[in-house]
Symmetry: C2
């Protein structure tokens, strides 16, 4: 990278150093131009309602094309070094804002009202998907269908490839307008399954490096340590920030800069705290995002609320676009050995199967627990199954696996993951619109009501929980599920009666909060949902 | 630095790597906590109207204290590595936002109405100050008063130490309320002299590395290349952005995120473009800031205007505070040889003399050109002379000089600069309030009129330019100065009649623009001026 003024360096080879730094400057320049191009192209395509190439796909393609051109004209190898992409940069500056924003942009109410289902899909479902993928890849290796990896590495691959990406599919959901419950399910699942996938990956990675003297019990403990520990750290930081903003009295007009400065430091604090404690920063920052949106956010002044929403949206858009460009560029530049083709092909087949096991299995369980009028319809399950494209998180974990695993293995996983990301983003991203229409889960009736729809649906849910208690339950298993269901409902009660009043300046009255939110909503066209108006 | 999940690494010494990464996480955690502490402390001090310790000084002190504690408890040297501060990070992420914001927060009107004086102080004055400092340091070395450096290195030191910092003094000016013209002079001078100081430094550095076969003429050419080239690049990017936003039609409600993403990419583009062309990115981004504020900004939608103002203010506050903390930390941690004490003492003496030569010399020239009722009063000149504290820019250039110069020399300059920064920030920063009161340039009459005052002063200037033309001029030199003065006035005309209508959606009518600005002002309590309300 270039640093100002080093361009006039000392005695030792000033020409070479100068050239190198100039090249770095040109590289960053090119990256900025690609970013600008992506934003403009994405905008033009959206304006012309061309849903076959969403913004993420456009970014990927731009990366692919520029990478391809660079590859052809690559007489000197300098172009490769322009894009000298540091892992550090990715993990410290690109990933945290993306993950925080995915937690921060969760609308708390539809999320909490579908809490049971979302947790089932993302915790149990991701576990199932990881294991199924891992085992199938292992069996595939045994049967010489694909590159052979040890079982634990297969499970690592299974975990990392089970992290789905919310970006592309959801932007199309928003453009087209879809059922609020489906939206909440897809979004909630793809956000929380990142946390699960990371925890599984780390656990498997630990099992791998201390393979002797580990028993199954220890694996479970390790997993809980990572998942619960990181979650607690994140939630703790979130609650701390809520209390700070509640009592510091910073929501006065002329202290907005101070308020915003402090607010944006908390997510990073959460990330680094978890890392310092040997936990997962990503899982921690995700939960900090959810908690800060639900509690801290409402303690801010109205101007600051508007600002921080726009701020995190901006930062994460930039980071996301950059990641997609980079992935495209990387796959075009990388010297790929074609022996990976089999691995890629069968992996795709297996993740499709594994996701079916996840969605339809968990869907069955959830439906057992839900009363008749709230069952998740098959069309929604199919949409959820179809929405499993892979993105930044899988890529990040694959990048990680190159460090964690022996030479050839990590490289194979990385190549396969990059290919899967590119293919799923282009294919699934491009066909989501068609799929949603085919499944008839998109309709004009839902269009304008996405904002207020939450409200209606939610109040229906609230009462339906009460109805549940009267309904006599069927089998013993069903009773257990219903109890879990009720505990999710009682979390909503806990939140309403204790958490919200304690951590916010709000009195915990949901209707009140809604008025405030709706009020903001009108004035925040920055938020994802703002795109809706675009169609008209 | 830590990267997520590398915490469970491979076979080779997992314990050591794990520890190292945990330490890095803890280091960043500590930095975030220091940032939070700085913001909170600064806020508390300001709220209690304790002007002897402004925010920058508070940050410096926090850095000094933590550095001192770390130094004492430094049984293992790990703490030093926690603060492993990369030059790259500084030049790529901290400096650009600070410099851009200083250009972006320039209020165009008082700046342009004092354009002649500001340019005189910052171009001619900084040149004088650099030469005087450099020559005095060289003479001091010859007379064994201080560490002896070659003449060209003395001039490099003179250049870098002539870059003054706007932050601390101006925040106090704002708190106390001062004359608008004085404010414009101090701010304009400290912003533009950074560009001049960098260009001089680079020129001297080039002279040094190609010492043979260089004549005086080539030095001038080199200087113009850097200064004019970088300025043109910056202005060019700024104008391009203005045209893009004028015609792209992005100022619709639901495209704010796109609009803001593109807007924040331009400054970085300007920075990297200049670096890629072997020019100065810092000078370029500064002028991009001035142009984008004056033209591009008014092509944005109202919401985006509010957002980008707050965004750049936030980013630069964070960067600035971090830089001051780091400087404090660095001076506490560095192993200083006490032989530098003499160098520091005499340097301070010399920069005081050099700044006097700059301010009173240029003040005399400016007053020759100005009509009687517009002369810069001696009290203002004294205030300007006093406000010359050193900050991030001098520090950055000194950091650079460690790379550019031989071992001992660069280190001496770096130590001296850090010490000068800390001393001037603490002493001048702490006493500015007292000084302003002693000079009687602070008063309640100016307090509330800072916003509207510009207007009044400006319209008076506009007419006074016309008056000038009738007044018969005195000597031939005076005539020349008046002509320069008129050219500054004609720039204002050019801007009003051609540039503003061409680059903005505005019709170039100043009154109109003012209404818009005032309108925003009411709704942007984020801006620096918003602090004013704080006093009441």
């Amino acid at each position: 990278m270039s640093s100002e003024l080093q361009i006039s360096p000392a005695i030792h080879d000033p020409q070479g150093q100068e050239k190198q730094q100039q090249a770095a400057g040109v590289g960053i320049l090119l990256q900025i131009m690609m970013l600008v191009l992506s934003f403009v192209l994405g905008h033009v395509l959206r304006r012309h309602k061309f849903y076959y190439l969403p913004e993420a796909s456009a970014s990927l393609l731009i990366g692919l094309i520029v990478g391809g051109l660079a590859n052809i004209s690559n007489t000197e190898t300098s172009i490769r070094t322009w894009f000298n992409f540091h892992d550090e940069f990715f993990f410290l500056f690109l990933l945290p804002p993306i993950i925080f924003q995915s937690g921060f942009s969760l609308q708390p109410k539809p999320f909490f009202s579908n809490f049971g289902a979302i947790v089932t899909f993302s915790v149990l479902g991701t576990f199932v998907a990881s294991m199924v993928t891992g085992l199938l890849v292992y069996l595939g290796g045994l049967m010489f269908l694909m590159y052979r990896l040890p079982l634990v590495e297969c499970l690592m691959f299974g975990s990392l490839i089970s992290a789905t990406d919310p970006v592309t599919v959801l932007s199309i959901f928003q453009e087209l307008g879809s059922d609020v419950n489906l939206y909440a399910l897809v979004f909630g699942e793809s956000v929380l399954n990142d946390a699960m996938a990371i925890s599984l990956y780390r656990t498997m990675s630990l099992v791998r490096s201390h393979s002797s003297g580990q028993n199954f019990f220890m694996v479970i403990v390790r997993f809980l340590e990572t998942f619960v520990g990181s979650m607690s750290a994140g939630v703790g930081v979130g609650f701390t920030s809520a209390l700070l903003f509640k009592y510091a009295g910073l929501d006065v007009d002329n202290l907005q800069n101070l308020e915003c400065c402090l607010f944006v430091l908390f997510p990073y604090f959460s990330y680094m705290l978890a890392e310092g404690l040997s936990l997962s920063g990503i899982v921690s920052i995700l939960f900090t995002g959810i908690v800060m949106k639900h509690y801290t956010y409402s303690n801010l002044s109205a101007n600051s609320q508007r600002f921080v929403s726009a701020f995190f949206h901006l930062i994460s858009s930039l980071a996301e676009t950059f990641v997609f460009i980079y992935m495209g560029f990387d796959i075009a530049m990388e010297k790929h050995s074609w022996s990976h083709l089999g691995f890629i092909f069968f992996s795709i087949l297996f993740i499709v199967i594994a996701r079916a096991a996840n969605v339809f299995g968990c869907g069955y369980l959830v439906n057992l627990a839900r009363p008749a009028h709230r069952k998740i319809p098959m069309t929604h399950q199919k949409a959820l199954w179809y929405s499993g494209l892979r993105g930044a998180m899988a890529f990040a974990l694959a990048l990680q696996s190159v460090h964690d695993l022996p030479e050839g293995h990590g490289q194979t996983i990385f190549t396969a993951t990059t290919a899967i990301v590119v293919l799923t983003v282009l294919l699934i991203g491009g066909s989501t619109g068609t799929m949603l229409e085919a499944l008839e889960v998109v309709g004009d009736s839902h269009d304008t009501s996405l904002g207020d729809g939450f409200e209606v649906v939610n109040s229906r849910y609230m009462t339906s929980y009460d109805d549940d208690e009267d309904t006599p339950s069927g089998s013993g298993f069903r009773t257990k599920l219903r109890e879990f269901h009720k505990s999710a409902a009682s979390f909503t009660e806990l939140d309403k009666n204790y958490l919200t009043p304690f951590f916010t300046s709000n009195n915990g009255d949901y209707d009140d909060e809604d008025n405030i939110e709706q009020h903001h909503e009108e004035r925040i066209p920055f938020t994802r949902r703002g795109n809706l108006n675009n169609r008209g």
